[in-house]
Symmetry: none
Subunit: 524 residues, 2 copies
């Protein structure tokens, strides 16, 4: 029987310490439901003492009837020299009315003496009292000894004593925490390996990524005997982040053969990752292991021929196991076999099909103009639809006209107007904004909004510009990429190329709307 590892998510508590991350209460509820669907064992919902929003989460989540995950409230041991009963931290934990709670405490002697300014013995009492009181109130209690690894290196006997105090008080797991994130994988092995585990409650691990090793540290902890791992979706958290559950879960399950509660539901991992990114308002990391857009990408050419012959020789696993997709990246080197593969979802094609020849020709032409589809698959999909005669344009442009002006005393503005023909009707749009691309987009939305309400589902989330022939400086051709996202968090990328940055942006903008129209809206 494969050993079972408990997955404990702290996206909503420790993850909230990350720069630029600030989930609303509504976001937190939605993320918790996604995590429950994914099948994590525990969801740390927040620090109820810290503010109203945190406390409110626990009331709201009770109504959601999660089916897999237990919600956990986070707090710390009681204050020195006081009782656990009536302590603000402890009472806030009880008020959260969760099945489980986690109590952070000190295990590094220097933190006891220099930060808490109390005695080593009193700290042990604080751990024991806090946990045993919470246990007596019917809670499952986890102990989170902060700075455990630094503490162990400094004074192993005392660090172990804190674990013993928590064990005696009835903690159901001792989640060793690398608070500063400076511990390396071999040290995790050695330290967990040396603990008197037979005398202790089960061991868990909570790692930060300050040395780039949070994932490896989690795996090493499991190999050394830990049965509970804490982390966050996308690895976001304070400083360099927490251990990334999007890497740890597939590593444990598919590479190391452990059993996770999620089972097959791990196939939602990619969509959970992107959902959290959308709520965090952070562009998903394309290079992220397992769930990133580029995680299973391959450059075209001979490489792809091998891939078609024998996948297991070129890929470390099947992308669909985590709900991701293989991507055949297009480039000047694109072989016909790549194009056949790309076309396969529209029917049966071979290297000799006229559509493949036509697409090859078109691709070559576009790439000569400076288009690049590697990071703009949505624009490439539109080319395929054109070649297959399936493409439906949204409108035809009559003209656009933008005016940007600035005086010595007043800041710049841009005024835009455009005329389109939409299914034989002439429509116009107008707008005044600051920059030209923003102005064009607003005018286009103004023109199309009434006829095509789906436009409101789309937001443009990234805009990148690259100069193709910098030696021509400001007269150079530019390539613009736009990333778009819909209301449910799906993203796509489009490209435009022109010597005029405005026209290049216009192309990428129109491609974004047309791609969405052709692939999402028409088939609804």
């Amino acid at each position: 029987m494969a050993k079972h590892i408990v997955i404990y998510d702290t996206t909503l508590r420790d993850g909230m310490q990350g720069i630029e991350i600030n989930y609303t209460l509504e976001d937190k509820i939605l993320i918790a439901k996604k995590l429950d669907e994914l099948g994590v064992d525990y969801i740390e919902g927040g620090f109820p003492l810290s503010n109203e929003k945190e406390a409110e989460f626990f009331k709201r989540i009770k109504k959601e009837k999660l089916t897999t995950a237990k919600v956990v409230a986070f707090g710390s041991t009681r204050k020195p020299g006081k009782k656990a009963t009536g302590d603000a931290h402890i009472e806030a934990l009880l008020d959260a009315q969760t099945e489980a709670v986690i109590v952070v405490g000190k295990s590094w002697i220097k933190h006891v003496t220099d930060v808490l300014r109390t005695s080593p013995e009193e700290n042990l009492e604080m751990i024991y009292d806090s946990i045993s009181y919470l246990k007596s109130e019917g809670r499952e209690v986890f102990f989170d000894p902060e700075h455990f690894f630094d503490g162990y290196k400094d004074d192993p006997d005392y660090a172990v004593k804190t674990l013993q105090a928590a064990t005696e008080a009835g903690a159901s797991c001792l989640v060793l925490c690398d608070t500063n994130g400076g511990t390396l994988p071999h040290e995790v092995s050695e330290i967990i390996g040396a603990l008197p585990k037979e005398k202790l409650a089960p061991i868990g691990g909570h790692f930060h990524n300050d040395t780039g090793n949070a994932v490896a540290n989690s795996l090493m902890a499991v190999l050394a005997g830990a049965t509970h791992i804490q982390g966050t979706i996308n690895g976001w958290g304070e400083r360099c982040g927490n251990a990334n559950l999007c890497s740890i879960m597939p590593n444990l399950m598919y590479k190391m053969g452990y059993k996770l509660t999620c089972g097959d539901r791990i196939k939602t991992l990619t969509s959970v990752s992107r959902f959290v990114a959308e709520k965090a308002n952070i562009i998903p990391d394309k290079r992220q292991p397992y769930v990133g857009e580029a995680a299973f990408s391959h450059k075209a050419g001979q490489h792809v021929d091998v891939l078609i012959k024998a996948e297991e020789l070129m890929e470390h696993m099947d992308a669909s196991l985590v709900g991701n997709k293989r991507r055949i990246i297009l480039s000047e080197l694109a072989g016909k076999s790549t194009l056949v593969k790309k076309l396969s979802k529209y029917g049966e094609f071979t290297k000799d099909s006229p559509e493949v020849a036509k697409l090859t020709e078109l691709l070559k032409e576009k790439e000569n103009e400076g288009f690049e589809y590697e990071a703009a698959e949505a624009s490439f999909e539109l080319l395929i639809l054109q070649v297959l005669g399936l493409y439906k344009p949204l409108f035809s442009l009559e003209n656009y006209h933008l005016e940007s002006f600035k005086t010595g005393r007043a800041d710049s503005k841009t005024l835009g107007k455009l005329f389109l023909t939409v299914e034989d009707t002439e429509v116009m749009g107008a707008s005044v904004c600051i920059g030209p691309v923003e102005t064009l987009d607003a005018a286009l939305r103004d023109a199309l909004g009434e006829k095509y309400p789906f436009i409101k589902e789309i937001s443009l989330i990234d805009y990148r510009v690259r100069v193709l022939n910098p030696e021509d400086a400001t007269a150079a051709k530019v390539r613009v990429f736009i990333s778009s996202r819909n209301h449910v968090g799906e993203t796509w990328d489009t490209v435009g190329v022109h010597k005029n940055i405005i026209e290049a942006s216009w192309q990428a903008l129109v491609d974004s709307y047309e791609y969405y129209y052709n692939t999402y809206v028409i088939n609804r």
Copy 2:
């Protein structure tokens, strides 16, 4: 004596396989120079056989006289059934005229039989012949057995035979490559631990990040006996990237006590990381270990009080050891000693000089607006001149007005006019071009050309745009960098920030001309 580990950078070869990464030849030269300043041991410059640009790099870099790093050309073993002499791959390696070369070969038996479609014996001959011929031509040769770890798991005896063939042929290092990126840290330990290392050339490691463990795998390889590690700056490379040298180097040096050639020069690591990001036109990852903007960030409050009391209780290391800065979020402190250093060419200043206080204030204000001077020192120089009262403006702007238009039948054009006051005289400029920045530049040159003939010495050689708050999409603030060059090849960089890309470009454009005027022309 601490053991020495060789650092081999492949940013310019394997790193180029990363999505969205495409360095120009000029970028590659500049990056190689930065890597040399940092003090890596080897720089893999490219794959000379693949195209002209790659081959050209090796000619250009010879003229740069690197002081620390050796340049390496990348290629593969000879074709089956042919001789090494005259083989296109091998000859391209020799033509690159580098001191060292790296030869990729097969070590997974299935790749030999199913991809190469040759015999196990012939593959060993290919490895032996290729390496011994390159050795006989005076090159230092590294062997890169691709898919080594998968190959070893499948058929350890054959995988080891390929290493023996390379050793016998005179390879100076066997760089075990985890091509698919699916190998975990404990497997790296076990496999390298089991190799008959006493009969083999020194071992190296080349890891990919598909499981999120490329850094840990590199450290585990070193602990198991490897003495050579390959990686890229920022970990960018194919799919999820290569092992990140920005994490590996400080881990090896500061956490594990190994000796690296760079020594103290590791303090430039943060600036090298950001320089490469700028050239790749990728937003630097704030959460990146060691070199990210958030790597040593602390939220204000109690946490910071502890930090002030005892840094070693809250931080895993001193940020300045890698050239990064601690950031106290909410009250950021500018590095006064850096500013004193910057000002020193204009006179004697100390941390208490009023000019330093004024510059600190101005810098903080500008950085809050989104300006960044790390890659735009010319714009920063103009700030210094302003603070010192030495700045001489070229002109004052009365107004500019641009019109960009396009019809359904005709391509886009932009028409521009501007009015300036130059030394009490009103001058105007006008132009018709395609894009708005080109049009503004042409109108500006039209207005200034007669009065300031030096304008003709300047050409704008690069133009880069970065969106600062992509969540606002087309309404986001953009930062524009312009690189300029004069008639004798000196270059400088300027920056502009605005929600209107045209205005941001205008700022960077004006800064470029004013910087040249103030620092080159006035003192002639």
